[in-house]
């Protein structure tokens, strides 16, 4: 039978080397910390803003439908300046749609304020679609204990979707207000 593995290496050495490589790779691609090291916060917000679109060389201003978002944010104790999060967004004015946003950002503690700039991908999924990047910031003001006031400022650039008129891109500048609870 033909022997597998590097020439002149015992079979056990080859097995150990393979196991070590797999373990190292797993530790790099899946650095899962213990759950106790991860912190969470949940929030509920409502907001609106201004939409700019139109097409055919014309810019049309339109108020963004009022929306409600419920989100969660998570960060690690040893990397408190980096956070990830997401939220479910529901448009509730003159229509009913549901979508979501995935975000990654930073935390900057400025005394009573906490600023969280972020970038993410936003999408409205039903009953029509809109997909595009979102950038913005959360401003969090601690009220009492785990309860905080949260202000959401964001700009969305909707690039794709069935709700876009043909050959147009839609920009939204939105602002929202709500509360956040640290868990």
């Amino acid at each position: 039978m033909e022997r597998r593995g590097p020439p002149n290496a015992p079979r056990s050495t080859w097995i150990w080397a393979t196991a070590l490589t797999l373990a190292t790779t797993a530790s790099v691609i899946a650095p899962t910390p213990a759950l106790a090291d991860r912190r969470f916060a949940v929030d509920v917000r409502a907001g609106s803003g201004v939409s700019v679109g139109g097409g055919d060389g014309q810019a049309t201003l339109h108020r963004t439908p009022v929306y409600v978002e419920a989100g969660a944010t998570s960060w690690l104790d040893d990397e408190q300046n980096v956070l990830v999060g997401g939220s479910v967004r529901v448009e509730v004015e003159d229509r009913a749609s549901i979508g979501g946003v995935l975000r990654a950002g930073l935390r900057a503690d400025l005394g009573p304020l906490e600023i969280r700039p972020f970038a993410g991908l936003a999408a409205i999924l039903m009953p029509y679609t809109l997909i595009g990047p979102e950038v913005g910031a959360f401003i969090v003001v601690e009220l009492a204990g785990p309860l905080s006031l949260i202000v959401h400022l964001a700009i969305d650039a909707w690039l794709f979707g069935s709700d876009l008129p043909p050959s147009t891109v839609l920009f939204m500048g939105n602002g929202g207000l709500g509360v956040e609870i640290a868990l």
């Binding site: 679109g53 055919d56 810019a59 108020r63 709700d163 008129p165």
Partner: protein, 158 residues
Amino acid sequence: MSRSRSDLVTWAAIAVSIVALLSGCEPGTCVRESDCPGQTACRAGRCVVVDDAGPVPDGATADVGDVGMPDAWSVDAPTDDAPSADAPGVDAPSADDAPTDDAGAQDASLDASVEDASGGASLDGFSPDANADAWLDDAGVSADTGSTLDAGVVDAGP
């Protein structure tokens, strides 16, 4: 003093702009398809009516279909021994069945076959009294459907 007044004017202008934007915008404008109600679509910032009713029926089929002749000729006529002048013109349009496109197509064939058999006379000029035999012949032939219909289509011309 002047600076504070300028600041005040600036802030007032900003506030008015924000209020104007947040209070809505000109009716009928849109930036998304979902901004437009019903059968309208957003084009160049305006909600416009989209005609999705499908192709318009061609004139010949629609006109002939309105006459509603096939029942009168192919069904009623053969059972009448003495057809009255009302038979083709009155009974058919008010008939029991609203004409459809298919019926209209048959009408076209039948009309053409009738015209051919009566020596090219138009239906309006067709007189049951003067052409009773021909009318009966036509009615009888029409009752046979198939072959006459085919012939009518061929004879219908361009």
